[in-house]
Symmetry: C2
Subunit: 348 residues, 2 copies
């Protein structure tokens, strides 16, 4: 979902960008107007996230799944081990890919709790010989989200923030590297943001594709080759929209409110429930189950009649899931809650 | 440059795709409507190129530069050498990247002719122990294009067709693999087409990022992770436009005509000239020089006043370059030629 104001601007400019009579898709990425666009997007992102000067901001292709490989390729730095937290499906995908490049230490796993909770930090089996510690800040399928930044005990902390970057303020100085596919809170699919501390660059393994070599891409300002120019443009529009909303503190306030309204409605209900520990419930993806599963299809079809779509739970877990990313307005959550109350009144 | 009809359709559908009240950017890539879009694009591409059934068609990210790495990672198949033709800057980039993975045999090089000609095939130093033979079908900067498919003498033939795929018919059965970034003749930047013979899959080296593992992506229908959904949509619109133009035979006729008109004008001129051997002049990118280089800036600024833009030669070679991809209409070439004649009348 993208903010309506962003889509309107994209439509209005699609055939004539800045009076050029050209679509932004047709403008060379080396031209001064496009360079201006690209630089402004980076400046806005740095501003919103208060990125410290010693960090590089990269705009790459390949999504988070590309970074599952790029992270160990770039950050292994002659070590043989890397540490990962397992909090669900996305962590596990990152772990499986990292095993192509190094031995993976699973520092902790949510497995024993059925991935309904994040193991407490005092139980984590830290490994100081690992090149870094990786975690997934928000599990979109399980609905588990870190509400604090963990301590990596001296090794670089790396985080997949694909589904919650820009949903709240962030202390980037705690991290060696963060990355995020854009398609949840930042823009369309096809562009990936990597923010990496400068001292970690320059040691990629020989087999690293140059487009994934952070040191090369930093030197080339993410333009080693033609970047995904239209996705970068849309990402820039979303960043401008975010600034107009008041920045990350403001959007975090709205996101918190949206999540509270929805979880409170679920917890009050006798028909619906959410199994995740309160301390790590996701404010981006709210999975919920219905006690009488025979009602699932009625719930989805009636919801659709009310204009409430994309409520199916992931095919691997079933049930329902409300994704309430930045672009989802408060009214959308209120409409869902009203519908759930009404549905329970009739079927509960 | 994209066809105006494609941009108009994209604009009209931007906020409401197929009556969904959603932008195509907001539609899940796993949803039936998006799957239909993706399958239709593949079917149209197979139809236009007459892709034999035993070839896989992949839609990836990372551009041709990503494929410079992905090709050796996937096709090395336990061999230690790969063969490359050097016909200019793009070949050399592919060669430099391949050296991360294998020893590169340069089968032939245009170096001795100043890259104004392709060395004749009887001079090529073929290496039958190489995993494949790679060439670049069109050098966009040098303006050198293969007008025939070379013989790889029994090893798989691999070709970077980034700048001329879909500009003319193609006998794919001659190739093991072809690849192309979309942004010249197929769509926007941010999506890359790979067409690979099925028997070459399944032997990628361990370090291959999964998003670049052809076997995995073929099994996942190019959706191992979220694909660049909007770029895929636009590519599909361009394919539909190409079919409306009459397919590749028809567009090749127009492209041939455009190139003939421009080269004839240059060859008739006493002021402008093109240094490339006639047998390998590019029908996509026509570089030309002006005898009195003091006139270069006047030519560019006056051309711009006539609505003729993007005529600067690449910064590495200077002079001028007219890119006459599929989306450039015949009228655009005629306008350029008229302007060149008039310019020569005044300054020649």
């Amino acid at each position: 979902m993208l903010p309506a104001a962003v889509l309107e601007q994209a439509r209005d400019e699609l055939m004539d960008w800045q009076g050029s009579s050209l679509s932004v898709m047709e403008v060379s990425h080396r031209s001064p107007p496009y360079q201006g666009l690209a630089h402004k997007a980076e400046a806005d992102l740095r501003d919103l996230l208060k990125v410290p000067a010693e960090y590089e901001v990269l705009f790459l292709q390949g999504g988070a799944t590309g970074q599952f490989a790029a992270v160990p390729m770039n950050l292994l730095r002659k070590k043989t081990r890397v540490s990962y937290l397992d909090t669900g499906i996305w962590s596990q995908k990152a772990i499986a890919e990292a095993r192509h490049y190094a031995a993976v230490i699973e520092v902790a796993s949510g497995h024993s709790s059925g991935y309904r909770d994040i193991p407490p930090e005092f139980e984590w089996q830290h490994d100081e010989a690992s090149a870094y510690l990786h975690y997934t800040s928000n599990e979109t399928i399980g609905g588990v989200q870190f509400q604090h930044i963990p301590d990596a005990l001296g090794i670089p902390l790396v985080c997949d923030m694909s589904s919650d970057l820009l949903s709240r303020p962030l202390d980037l100085s705690r991290f060696g590297l963060i990355y995020a596919g854009a398609q949840k809170n930042m823009g369309p699919s096809g562009i990936t943001v990597v923010i990496v501390r400068g001292d970690l660059l320059g040691s990629a393994i020989r087999q690293t594709p140059s487009i994934f070599n952070y040191g090369i891409q930093a030197a080339e300002k993410s333009m080693l080759n033609t970047p995904p120019t239209y996705a970068w443009y849309l990402l820039g529009l979303v960043l401008e929209w975010l600034k107009r909303q008041g920045g990350l503190e403001a959007i975090a306030g709205v996101n918190h409110q949206k999540a509270d309204i929805l979880y409170q409605a679920i917890d009050r209900s006798s028909l619906f429930h959410n199994p995740i520990a309160h301390t790590c419930r996701s404010r981006m993806n709210v999975p919920f189950l219905i006690k009488d599963t025979a009602l699932e299809s009625s719930f989805l079809s009636e919801a659709k009649q009310h204009g409430l779509v994309h409520l199916e739970g992931h095919r691997s877990v079933g049930g329902f899931r409300a994704s309430i990313y930045n672009a989802m307005p408060l009214e959308g959550v209120n409409a869902l809650v009203d519908f759930m109350v009404e549905f329970e009144r009739r079927y509960g």
